[in-house]
């Protein structure tokens, strides 16, 4: 029995945290926003290329890619702590979708062009999105290279020219969101039959867990921001962080994250081990991570007061990402229902 990340995983996580602090500071997220709202002439895709390239360089995008295809050949346990860091930085890029969900799906369901695509994922030259029935929206779709669309127990591989994209506006201005329409065909199916439904479940679980991991990171970041602010901001002649009302808001918010975290870690372990209960474990993790991030977001806003209620201050980047991801791949209620179906039938 040992329930903690390995030393290597902690070192890797710390390296990624440093990398993203350098390449994806709040100003980079702000720039992604400005592109989306048309403040930057020519617009953009909301991507933080410097971070993406550096993540490829460091091997992060190839964590799930087999060594034979230029990756690290590691597991869910290795990449999930790194996705926490992506959340902490509010990195808009689809790291979870490409490096975790797509790479995991491809390596477990090899087909004619799998190896080449995995190699491109590892080197950072392919953005691969994974879509599920239930949500028509994908981020970064306008610059994505490959779409792996799941539907009724089948996975279909499509290029950008084979899907129809219609830009829509997310509350999170850094998420370049598109409604994606597509038509399955015999030619596009890459996984089906018995393997198909298993592959789709596993991909969905990874997508949900990837979001849960980012929500944990977002929660920690919002807590950090708020603790820093509450220690500095003075009212009635003292730092507002000395008030018990403020302390207790933040203690509860911190507790929600603290108890979501082990569920996220356990779900990663279960997916890596092929535990038959992995879907339940993922749902416990996503249910609690979604709830925790929303609790932290509200506490953070309340403790910041009016300054948090502006788009000039950084908090809203993290808060709005938390709102987006909290309901992405199933919100807390959806995932509680999934646990309930197993416990209570």
């Amino acid at each position: 029995m040992r329930f903690a990340p390995t030393e290597d995983q902690i070192d890797f996580r710390d390296a990624v945290r440093g990398l993203l602090a350098d390449t994806c500071p709040p100003d980079a997220v702000r720039a992604a926003w400005r592109e989306q709202v048309g403040e930057v002439p020519g617009g953009g895709d909301g991507r933080v290329r410097a971070a993406w390239d550096a993540l490829a360089e460091m091997g992060v995008l190839g964590v799930m890619v087999p060594e034979g295809s230029g990756g690290l050949g590691l597991t869910d346990e290795d990449i999930v702590p790194l996705l926490v860091e992506c959340g902490r930085a509010a990195l808009p890029d689809p790291v979870s979708s490409t490096a975790y969900v797509a790479a995991g799906l491809l390596r477990e369901n090899p087909g004619r062009s799998t190896e080449a695509l995995l190699a491109r994922i590892a080197e950072g030259s392919a953005t691969v999105l994974v879509g599920f029935p239930g949500s028509p929206y994908l981020t970064a779709a306008e610059t994505a290279d490959v779409f792996l669309m799941c539907d009724r127990g089948e996975v279909h591989e499509l290029t950008r020219s084979e899907v129809t994209l219609e830009p829509v506006t997310s509350v999170d201005g850094a998420r370049a969101l598109c409604r994606v329409e597509w038509e399955p065909s015999d030619r596009s199916v890459i996984v089906g039959g018995f393997d198909g439904s298993q592959a789709v479940t596993r991909a969905f679980d990874r997508a949900a867990l990837g979001a849960a991991a980012q929500l944990v990171g977002l929660g920690e970041r919002m807590l950090d921001l708020t603790v820093g602010y509450a220690a500095e901001r003075k009212q009635f002649g003292v730092a507002i962080g000395t008030f018990q009302a403020v302390k207790h808001h933040l203690a509860d918010a911190a507790s929600a994250v603290a108890f979501a975290q082990p569920l996220v870690l356990r779900a990663a372990y279960s997916l890596a081990q092929g535990d038959p209960d992995a879907p339940v474990h993922v749902s416990m993790a996503k249910a609690r991570a979604s709830a925790a991030a929303l609790v932290v977001a509200e506490a953070a806003l309340q403790c910041h007061g009016a300054i948090g209620y502006t788009v000039e201050y950084d908090l809203h980047f993290f808060m709005k990402r938390a709102w987006a991801l909290a309901s992405r791949y199933g919100d807390a209620d959806f995932h509680r229902d999934r646990v309930r179906a197993v416990l209570l039938g």
Partner: protein, 446 residues
């Protein structure tokens, strides 16, 4: 086929999502069986994450389960917070001790099995799973004993620990006073030096002392330096309750049982700890009249070591909540079978189950850290707030499942009444939230 629905459906993503293989969540396996893997990790594996138990640990679990199945009282004992029930519980404690189950993690010399912290967790899981009696010795073995292991002299360890594990000495905690609850440093009970007799004269009043009317000994803080204020000038004393000058008055807790007591001390003599070199018989005679733990005027630091135990995993091991969540789930399944389980109530049951799992996993992380030399420190306040509030939600859900039977004075109501004490004792949850804010998050104290 084709296209994508425009709203998120409340069904599973792939349409026919399956849960292949053997699940740990089937009705025949309601929890408390670890991570649900049959794989064995082998012993001594470090570094990687591993949520399985080794063969040796599984064997230990089986040994626990077999013994508890054969010995756990059925029907359950009467409440340990009544005189008759307490006596029955002490007999149970002696039975545990006879087969060395009373303090599995202690050294063999003191009645234990030298079990690892992991094995202790397994024992606790099995203990609660078996529905075995509450531990009326818990304030001794979980709160005082860690302090004796850390601060006691070898002579004190040899004297007090075997008697404690054998349930010969039954310890209660003398922290709170009428005007010192959450503000523990506000205590006024004092110990006055008696040089002629070679010891101290203790006076004052302790209160809300759990099972004080039935225990034989009290550990508590007394003011040894009248000039010093607050946290300074306190000393940790060990006091036999049959000493001259001690008066104990039991009184009813919320559930009506005489689980509380006031302890009045009027010039109660406690001798200095015996000098090294005197005969073991003389030393034992002295220690049987009490003593001090961890140095004169050093009591605050010594006591804080105990409160950390109380808040953290030792008092509320995850096995307790997983077992309670499993019973709650059984109850919900019964109600569901009769068609009376509402959507909302079912959700609360599932939430309690998820929280019990989260607590168990959090604790596994704590234990991993302790085994590898990382102390949870102030983070133990997270545990305390979480388990105590989970316990209330869990019992409230059970009562609501019972419908009109909820008001009957049954085990769930009793459990609920007990759960309500959780956010109050061991440092109120308000104090815990301050600790989290100040010592975990780093918010300013003033």
């Amino acid at each position: 086929m084709g296209g994508i629905p425009s709203v998120f459906p409340s069904t599973d993503p792939g349409g026919d999502v399956r849960f292949p293989g053997r699940s740990a969540y089937g009705p025949d396996r309601p929890g408390s069986d670890g991570a649900g893997s049959d794989a064995s990790s082998g012993v001594g594996q470090t570094g990687v994450m591993d949520l399985t138990w080794s063969d040796a640990e599984e064997a230990f679990r089986q040994e626990c389960r077999t013994w508890l199945t054969e010995h756990a009282p059925n029907p359950a004992l009467p409440s340990g917070d009544t005189a008759a029930g307490f006596a029955a519980h002490v007999e149970w404690e002696k039975e545990l001790h006879a087969d060395r189950w009373a303090v599995v993690s202690w050294p063999e010399a003191y009645g234990g099995r030298d079990a690892s912290l992991w094995e202790w967790l397994i024992f606790e899981e099995e203990y609660y799973r078996a529905g075995a009696p509450q531990r009326v010795t818990q304030n001794g073995i979980f709160l005082l004993a860690p302090t004796i292991f850390e601060f006691g002299t070898p002579a004190q360890q040899d004297h007090y620990l075997p008697r404690m594990s054998a349930a010969e000495d039954l310890w209660c905690q003398g922290w709170s006073e009428p005007n010192a609850g959450s503000d523990l440093a506000g205590i006024t009970s004092r110990a006055v030096r008696d040089d002629a007799a070679g010891g101290w004269l203790l006076s004052g009043q302790k209160t809300w002392t759990t099972r004080g009317a039935f225990c034989t000994h009290l550990f508590g803080l007394f003011r040894t330096d009248g000039e010093a204020e607050r946290h300074r000038g306190l000393t940790y004393f060990l006091v036999p309750l049959d000493a001259d000058g001690v008066t104990v008055r039991g009184f009813g807790r919320l559930d009506g049982d005489e689980g509380f007591a006031e302890v009045f001390l009027d010039d109660v003599f406690v001798p200095d700890n015996p000098d090294e070199g005197i005969s073991p018989a003389d030393a034992a005679a002295t220690m049987s009249r009490g003593g001090t733990l961890g140095g004169i005027d050093q009591g605050w630091g010594v006591a804080m070591a105990t409160t950390t135990s109380e808040r953290g995993l030792t008092l509320r091991s995850p096995g307790r909540f997983r077992a309670a969540a499993a019973r709650l789930l059984d109850l919900a399944r019964e109600v569901d079978d009769s068609g009376r389980l509402t959507e909302r109530l079912g959700d609360r049951v599932v939430d309690a189950w998820i929280d019990a799992e989260a607590y168990a996993l959090y604790t596994l992380g704590d234990v991993t850290g302790i085994v590898e030399g990382r102390s949870p420190g102030a983070r133990s306040s997270f545990n305390k707030v979480f388990w105590s509030e989970l316990d209330i939600r869990l019992h409230r859900a059970a009562l609501d499942l019972l419908g009109p039977d909820a008001e009957l004075d049954g085990p769930w109501m009793k459990g609920y009444e007990f759960a309500l004490s959780g956010p109050i004792y061991a440092g109120t949850n308000e104090i815990q939230r301050n600790i989290i804010a100040e010592r975990v998050l780093g918010l300013p104290r003033k």
